[in-house]
């Protein structure tokens, strides 16, 4: 078992996404990196930020940000400069919500609509990629994950 959102988990996640053919198909048009923001609750004491690079149906990288590292939120239409962790979207939720999503007890879109999770970024673009979002979760569920109980 690998601890959720550890660097080891992040590396497994790259492989999981890249071997998900349904994701590749659903996101073949997608460009735009994400920050997954995992907010503390229960057994998790500090916020975790994870950068996920996503480009045309592939995961180009996944890195857990170190303490003190920050990301840059790109404006709509802004071109990345090549600096690390420039993202178009942030998907934020408390660890217990992430846990429910990754255990398939809660749909990531339903979490969003119920206010348990929040997306920052170009909402219409996210709305057009609901199947891709679901497949990102499906990819994560293939990893034998340990949570912060």
């Amino acid at each position: 078992m690998v601890k959720f959102a550890s660097q080891e988990w992040a590396e497994l996640y790259i492989d999981a996404v890249n071997s998900n053919e349904d994701y590749a198909k659903a996101a073949d048009w997608w460009t735009g990196d994400f920050i997954f923001q995992i907010d503390p609750h229960g057994g998790l004491e500090k916020q975790i930020l994870m950068w996920v690079g996503l480009h045309k149906g592939k995961c180009t990288g996944c890195v857990r940000l170190k303490e003190g590292e920050t990301y840059k939120m790109l404006e709509k239409g802004e071109t990345p400069t090549g600096e690390p962790f420039e993202v178009e979207f942030v998907y934020a939720a408390r660890i217990d919500v992430w846990q429910q999503i990754l255990k398939k007890e809660l749909d990531p879109i339903r979490a969003l609509l119920s206010g348990q999770a929040k997306v920052t970024g170009d909402m219409p673009k996210v709305l057009r990629a609901t199947e891709a979002a679901k497949q990102l979760v499906v990819s994560a569920t293939t990893i034998d994950t340990e949570f912060y109980e």
Partner: protein, 122 residues
């Protein structure tokens, strides 16, 4: 849902094809988000003078009242579900995916043009 509606209207506003409609469309809508079998959360959308505001709770005076599961509403907004689908198919609670009250049929028919994202060729 506020972020969803605000995002769609902002995108429509940026598209010259929709500017006139967005500027001229007016109405007061209660939107019931059917979240649990016996629980509906109310928000409202007011379109007035080209301004759109989404707030909590239902309005006492409204043109149309819509009720839908938020997820179905989202699939309607992203174009995955058509109006016909929403009117004819049942939701996870066994009710029609889109129920409405009120006689402002013109506004009902115009609503998809305001709230449904344009198809984009990828």
């Amino acid at each position: 849902m506020k972020a969803v509606i605000d995002g769609i209207i902002a995108e429509k506003r940026d598209n010259p094809k929709h500017t006139k409609r967005i500027e001229s469309f007016e109405g007061r809508f209660n939107i019931g988000l059917h979240v649990e079998e016996d629980e509906i959360m109310w928000i409202n959308l007011i379109a007035n003078n080209g301004e759109y505001t989404v707030s909590r709770d239902a309005l006492d005076e409204y043109d149309l009242e819509l009720i839908a599961d938020p997820e179905d509403l989202m699939f309607f907004c992203n174009g995955q579900y058509s109006v016909t689908h929403m009117m004819m198919k049942k939701n996870r609670f066994g009710k029609r995916k889109l129920r409405f009250k009120g006689r402002a049929y013109g506004k009902l028919l115009a609503l998809p043009k305001i709230l449904v994202l344009d198809k984009v060729e990828h």
